[in-house]
């Protein structure tokens, strides 16, 4: 079997002196959609921030294990190089858009490290505005004044503008009305069909397991179950704890 795109092996991380992940391991293959599900405080966001190599104190400190991308360890790599060189983007929990910049400026800023020419960039802008027409209508608007759902679209759009081939999404449906939520997932599916690898965190475990190929269940910093989504949905433990019976 080929080496997976992303391998996390026996990862331990701490916030201060408190260990938040106690040796978790998982893989994401190229072109796959993988989901991490788990209760509040299980360590899902922590895992994604560790993979993105974000610095403490907001993100955790990695104290053991390894994270490999195409077989190479990425521990100690600068977070901006993860985006620029590995084309691995994170849409963080809580969006973190630049509220004092316009929609257009937010998207432009995400292209900071790209070396592509104007044609490629324009193609990507067009694509993002096509995927999220609301952003197009609000191009010149200060992004602070967008609705929560629109801000979420901007956060995803911004990740796409960074030129990513692998996107990690931390609760992208947060604050979205049901209809918009389905739109968002349809959009993500479309991106996946074009070759985008996706690692997804989603509160709605039902939705996540229907959408993804494989899943990992994480509980207080440990992986407690994993497998293809179909089998996880049949797993009585998972059913009881996360799928509402």
């Amino acid at each position: 079997m080929n080496t997976p795109l992303l391998e996390v092996e026996n990862l331990h991380v701490k916030y201060g002196n408190i260990e938040a992940l106690h040796g978790i391991s998982f893989t994401v293959g190229e072109g796959e959609i993988v989901t991490l599900i788990g209760a509040n405080g299980a360590g899902k966001s922590t895992t994604l921030m560790a993979v993105a190599q974000l610095p403490p104190p907001e993100a955790p400190k990695i104290t053991g294990g390894d994270i490999r991308f195409r077989g190479q360890s990425i521990l100690g790599m600068a977070p901006d190089r993860i985006v620029a060189d590995l084309h691995l983007a994170l849409v963080p929990e809580g969006r973190h858009i630049f509220g004092n910049l316009t929609v257009e400026e937010n998207l432009k800023l995400a292209t900071y490290a790209r070396k592509d020419g104007v044609n490629e960039l324009n193609r990507d802008y067009k694509r993002v505005y096509q995927l999220f027409p609301r952003l197009n209508e609000r191009r010149k608007q200060r992004s602070e004044s967008l609705s929560g759902g629109e801000q979420q679209m901007l956060a995803v759009g911004r990740a796409l503008m960074s030129g990513c081939r692998f996107i990690m999404l931390d609760e992208p449906s947060m604050g979205l009305a049901p209809l918009l939520m389905y739109d968002m997932f349809r959009t993500l599916k479309e991106l996946n069909e074009e070759g985008m690898t996706i690692l997804l965190i989603e509160q709605n475990a039902n939705l996540a397991l229907k959408f993804a190929h494989r899943g990992y269940v994480i509980d207080t910093g440990e992986i407690v179950a994993h497998g293809p989504c179909a089998s996880l949905m049949e797993n009585p433990e998972v059913k009881k704890a996360y799928l509402g019976g």
Binding site: A78, D80, V83, H96, I97, N100, L101, L109, Y112, S162
Partner: protein
């Protein structure tokens, strides 16, 4: 009438100095939320750098004309002063940032760096004052009773050009957008593929470079240099930046010019010993009415 115009010109000149220095406070604050108390002393270092460049270039080994010396000294002074600012960032502020030090310690470090620059200068060069050489031939234009020196015009034009340039950088370029972005949400900057440290270094280059320019122009206008020359003017520029709304580059300019006008205005009415008392009282009143400064918006956007 002539009297008024004359005073307006003087106010514009002093306002230009304050504005050029206030910029550095505001840029660094906008990006790092750090009040760089060493900034007034970077201005002083800029004046000394200009002095050594000028005397060297005028001296026998180069023998350049005063005008050529001026032309070369402007970019060189800015570049070298920028290096000093960046060095300070590297050796003093960055290590603290890495360790996640509390803001108070960073501010105290800045204060100490300023003192080290002052007393380092005193230790190395002694207490004697230096006389800055004449670089441009002073031409004085008189219209009625109004006199205007070319140097004053250069100072005012420099401030305006710097303002337009900075406005362009901050609103139109990606690095300027990144500077604004950091001030809003530092966490997300690396997620955009942007190395935070390079944006911070760029900010220090801009702020210190313009302080260097101010140091050179100030030394040409008031050609006596001493190690503590940056202290009071630095404090004043800092206050101007706060009154204008710290973190906003327009604020630095309006605050700087406002202070220039208040000072000159006070002196036309009262004895000059009252100048600073009145000037600071008026600024205090402005802050009392609008605590965020003229352009400051509570919390959100900076730069």
């Amino acid at each position: 009438m002539d009297f008024i115009i004359q005073n307006i010109l003087n106010a514009l000149q002093w306002g230009s100095f304050y504005a050029l220095i206030a910029l550095g406070y505001t840029l660094v604050y906008g990006v790092l939320r750090l009040i760089n108390f060493a900034h007034g002393d970077i201005f002083m270092v800029g004046a000394y750098i200009a002095f050594f460049l000028a005397t060297t270039m005028l001296g026998p080994s180069f023998g350049l004309s005063p005008f050529m010396t001026f032309v070369i000294a402007v970019p060189l002074t800015m570049a070298l002063t920028a290096c000093v600012g960046v060095t300070l960032e590297r050796i003093a502020y960055r290590p603290l940032r890495r360790k996640g030090a509390h803001r108070l310690y960073v501010v105290i470090t800045a204060l100490m760096c300023g003192l080290i620059l002052e007393y380092g200068n005193l230790a190395v060069l002694g207490a004697s004052r230096l006389k800055f050489p004449d670089l441009i031939e002073k031409s004085i234009w008189s219209v009625g009773d109004v006199t205007m020196t070319n140097l004053k015009v250069i100072v005012i034009v420099a401030a305006v050009v710097v303002f337009i340039f900075l406005n362009f950088i901050v609103t139109k370029t990606k690095i300027g957008m990144a500077m604004r972005g950091i001030s809003y949400d530092k966490f997300a900057i690396p997620l955009m593929g942007i190395p935070i440290d390079s944006i911070i270094v760029f900010t220090f280059i801009l702020g210190s470079g313009f302080a260097g320019l101010a140091g050179l122009l100030f030394a040409m206008s008031y050609p006596i240099l001493e190690p503590f020359m940056g202290m009071i003017i630095g404090w004043k520029a800092f206050i101007a930046a706060v009154v204008g709304g710290i973190g906003d580059i327009r604020g630095a300019f309006y605050g700087g010019f406002l202070l220039g006008f208040i000072e000159v205005g006070v002196v036309t009415v009262f004895p000059s010993t009252y100048r600073d008392l009145f000037a600071f009282s008026i600024l205090l009143l402005i802050l009392w009415i609008k605590p965020t400064g003229l352009f400051g918006m509570p919390q959100s956007t900076k730069i």
